[in-house]
Amino acid sequence: MSIMRVKARAGDGRTDVKMMARHEMETGQRKDKAGNVIPAKFLSEIEVKHGGKVVFAANLGPAVSKNPYFSFSFAGGASGDTLELSWKENTGKSGSETADIR
């Protein structure tokens, strides 16, 4: 299941990336109606590669907002190239997906 929505646009020798991960980012500080703490469940690592090279990597804590959003730019990249995205949760769950540069 893909969780990443990516807009990547190449031009002028660089690629601008805007990405959003669909994720609750549960902080571990909230309580449910019965007063039980809702366990923390958040994305802890996100990595983006282009042509096998890491172009962006972030370590996240639960203070990153729900549906984490990031924007960054890297040198190179061309329309039609593929970005490889991978992510990890604090629970140990992980995933990877791809997105094309427009």
């Binding site: 090279k53 172009v55 962006f56 990597a57 370590n59 639960p62 729900k66 984490p68 960054f72 040198a75």
Partner: protein
């Protein structure tokens, strides 16, 4: 614990080997998720856990962009950029959050030292960006007033 000469020599050798390893790692290698830094409840301790020291000095070359007033603490846009060369990482701290470290960005060579994200703020407090460039820590701080906190529930 007895520290005879042999064990001291062993310890020094092991430490040296570890340091050697870290030197051999590429500059912008994926830094692991630092549990101690993300779980520290005090900002200075979080910075120390992440960088090994809290020696960052205020720098006009670190540009921290955040609103003066955030109506909704659950979604506060924050951007960090710098003109400093050889940036290794940039991180965002929110002083009065239960755990001040919000996010750490690794900046590989070829990637611009200019990132934006959105963070949660429990209440009005200082937001600090720490940039590690050429092995040196730099910082910029800005107070953000929060109307409705975004941490609890």
């Amino acid at each position: 614990m007895s520290m005879n000469r042999r064990s001291v020599v062993k310890a020094v050798a092991a430490g040296g080997a570890l340091m050697g390893l870290s030197v051999l790692m590429p500059r912008a290698a994926m830094a692991a998720w630092t549990k101690a830094a993300f779980e520290a409840s005090e900002q200075s301790a979080a910075i120390k856990a992440l960088y090994g020291e809290d020696s960052a000095t205020e720098s006009p070359e670190v540009i921290l962009d955040a609103p003066d007033i955030a109506e909704n603490g659950a979604v506060v846009p924050v951007s960090v950029s710098t003109t400093l060369p050889n940036v290794e990482s940039m991180s965002i701290f929110i002083e009065n959050n239960p755990s001040p470290l919000a996010v750490q960005f690794m900046i590989p060579e070829g990637t611009e030292a200019d990132v934006s994200t959105r963070v949660r703020m429990g209440k009005t407090t200082n937001v600090t960006a720490v940039v590690k460039a050429d092995g040196v820590l730099h910082r910029a701080t800005k107070e953000v007033k929060v109307t409705i906190g975004g941490c609890g529930g």
